[in-house]
C-alpha cells in the first residue's frame, strides 16, 4: 500500500495524497476517507473535496489545531485501506440519456472512421459499460469519468471550438464526459444529453456525486425532446440501477 502524504494548503486547508496516479483503488480510498471524515467530525471540519487521488479538508484552526487534526486523519486514512471493494458494490448507476450523432453529435462519424468502426458500433461501445465518476470539478457538475474503452479513443480536435453547448457528450483521448454548461473545448462531440448535471431549480440540484457511476443510454429524438421538457419543468428523475458486485 502506498504511503499517505498530508500536506498544508493555507491555514485552513490540508491535503491528503494517496498516490500520484489516476487509479480505481486509490480513488476508492479517497472517497472512503471522505465519508469517514464527514461522519467523524463536526463543525471543526468545514468541507471535504475528493479528487482523483487526494482529498482536500477545509477546517477551522480556531476550533481544532492542525497537529491534532492530522493525527486523527492519519488514522482514518489508514483505516480506509485497500480490500474493501465489496463496500463499493451496490454503488448507484445513473442513466444519462444521449441522442447520438446528427447535428447534436457532429464528430461521431470521425470517431467511427478514426477507429475503423461504424457509428452504431461506437454507440454500442460507448453505452456498454458504466463509468466511475472519479471527481467533479472545472465547472459545476463537470464529471471526470474513468473506464472508457480504448476502442473508441480519439484525439482532441486540432482546433478547439469556442462554444460547446451544454449537454454535449464528447471523447478526448481515452476520456469521455459531458459539458454541464456552455464552455469552449476541444472534445470530439458524439451526442448530446438533455439532462442537467446541475439544476438550481431542482430539489436535488446535483444529478450525481463523485464515487457514483454513470451509464450513457442511446435515445431517439422523440425521447430526447420528452426528457428535455421534463428537465425544463424540474420534473425529470433519472433512471438508476445498482452496480452488481465489483466492476
Amino acid at each position: 500500500m502506498e504511503k499517505v502524504k498530508i500536506l498544508a494548503a493555507g491555514e485552513q486547508g490540508l491535503v491528503i495524497e494517496f498516490g500520484e496516479a489516476i487509479d480505481f483503488e486509490i480513488n476508492a480510498r479517497v472517497h472512503r476517507t471522505a465519508r469517514l471524515i464527514k461522519s467523524k467530525f463536526g463543525e471543526e471540519v468545514i468541507e471535504v473535496v475528493p479528487t482523483y487521488r487526494s482529498l482536500m479538508v477545509y477546517f477551522d484552526p480556531l476550533r481544532i489545531q492542525r497537529a491534532e487534526l492530522v493525527q486523527n486523519i492519519k488514522g482514518l486514512a489508514l483505516a480506509a485501506t485497500a480490500g474493501d471493494e465489496k463496500k463499493d458494490a451496490g454503488k448507484v448507476v445513473i442513466d444519462i440519456p444521449v441522442f447520438y450523432g446528427g447535428e447534436l453529435g457532429p464528430d461521431l462519424s470521425f470517431v467511427a472512421s478514426h477507429n475503423g468502426l461504424t457509428e452504431e458500433e461506437v454507440i454500442a461501445i460507448h453505452t456498454a459499460t458504466p463509468y466511475l465518476v472519479y471527481m467533479i470539478g472545472f465547472t459545476p457538475g463537470f464529471p471526470y469519468l474513468g473506464g472508457m474503452s480504448e476502442k473508441i479513443a480519439t484525439p482532441r480536435l486540432a482546433q478547439p471550438r469556442t462554444k460547446i453547448p451544454a449537454g454535449s457528450v464528447g471523447i478526448a483521448g481515452s476520456q469521455t464526459g459531458f459539458y454541464p454548461i456552455e464552455s469552449p473545448g476541444g472534445w470530439q462531440l458524439i451526442g448530446r444529453t438533455p439532462v442537467k448535471a446541475f439544476n438550481a431549480c431542482s430539489q436535488s440540484p446535483f444529478l450525481f456525486e463523485a464515487g457514483d457511476y454513470l451509464r450513457f443510454v442511446s435515445v431517439s429524438q422523440a425521447e430526447y425532446d420528452k426528457i428535455a421538457a421534463q428537465v425544463e419543468a424540474g420534473e425529470y428523475k433519472p433512471a438508476t440501477s445498482v452496480l452488481g458486485g465489483g466492476v
Binding site: A9, G10, E11, Q12, E47, V49, T51, R53, F142
Partner: protein, 342 residues
Amino acid sequence: MITIVKPGLLTTIQDEGRWGYQAYGMPVSGAMDRYAYRTANILAGNAAGAAAFEMTMLGATYRFETEALIAICGADMQATLNGEPVSNWSALSVQAGSELSFQFAAQGCRAYLAVQGGVDVPPVLGSRATYTRGQVGGKDGRALKAGDVIARGQASAHAFCQPKCLPAEWIPALGDQIAIRVLAGPQGDYFTEGGMETFFSSQYVISDEADRMGYRMDGAKIEHSKKPDIVSDALCLGAIQVPGHGMPIVMMADRQTTGGYAKIGTVIGPDLWKLAQAKPGDTVRFIRCTDEEAVEALRAENSRYEQLAAWAAAGSQPSGGGKRYQMKINGVSYKITVEAIN
C-alpha cells in the same frame, strides 16, 4: 426596495460564499475583501453573512425607495448622497427617494454597500453570492443592470444601529506596494530551491488578467524542478498555481474548484483583502510565514470583528425595538421613537 440607477462596471451581490458544494464542482464565490464586507455588515447592524453589494473599480448609483440605514466600506469610490459627499467606512441613514452615487475608485478596487436587513435575493444552495460564470445566485446569476429592483431583508428587532464613522485606526491603509504572507506548499517539492528563492525575493506586478477568479502576476520566472502539471486536485482560496510559464496565479473567490498546476504556496486568508483591493500594475511581494503566524493572524482578525461589533453597538438604540410615530407640529413633520427603559 432599492433601484439600481447606474450599475457601475461590475456590481454583484455577495456574502460569505457558497460553502459545502465544492465536491460538486461549485465554486465558493463570496466577497473578495472579507474585512471590508464584514465591517460594512457590522456597521449596518446586520448579522454575519448578510448579503451586500460589491462594486468594482467604478461604483453604482442606487435609489432607496424607503428609508434605510446603510454602511459603506472598502475602496474609496467618493460616494455622494443626493450630491453631498459622505464618508467612506461609515454608517448613515438615507431617506426614501435618496440617491447614493459612487464614482471611480480613488483608492483600492472594491467597495461594499451593506443595507440594514441585508440584500434579499433568493438563496441558491444556502448562499446569495453571485457566481456569474455559472449564472448562479445574486440577481439572476448576473451582475446588476440599470433598472434592477432589489429587495431589502427584514432587520432584526435587536439590530443596533446608528450613523457613525469607523475610527481611523481600524481603517486599513492601501498602497500600490503590497506585501502578503504565504504558507509554502502543498507542492513545494515541484520547484527548485532557486525557484522558491525567486518567488519569495522578487517583486511581481499584477497583470491585466486579474478578476474575481484569479490574479496572474508578471515578474521573475519561477523554476520548476519537475513538470508543472499534477493530477488535478482541489484549489483552496489563495492557492498560488505556477503553470509552465513560471508566473504565479493567485486563486480568488470565484476560482474553479480543481486545477492541474503545481501550487507553490497559499496566500493566508487574513491578507487576501490586500489583493482584492489591488489593481493591475500594482506590485506584490510574497512573504514566507509559518502556520502558527497564519493562525495567529486569523485569531487577530476574528477578535477585531468582536471589537468592532461591541463598538458599533455601544450607545446605539435597537432600531426595531421601539415604537415609531410620525407627527406634525406647526406644519413640520417629526419622527419619534419611543422605547421602554427599565
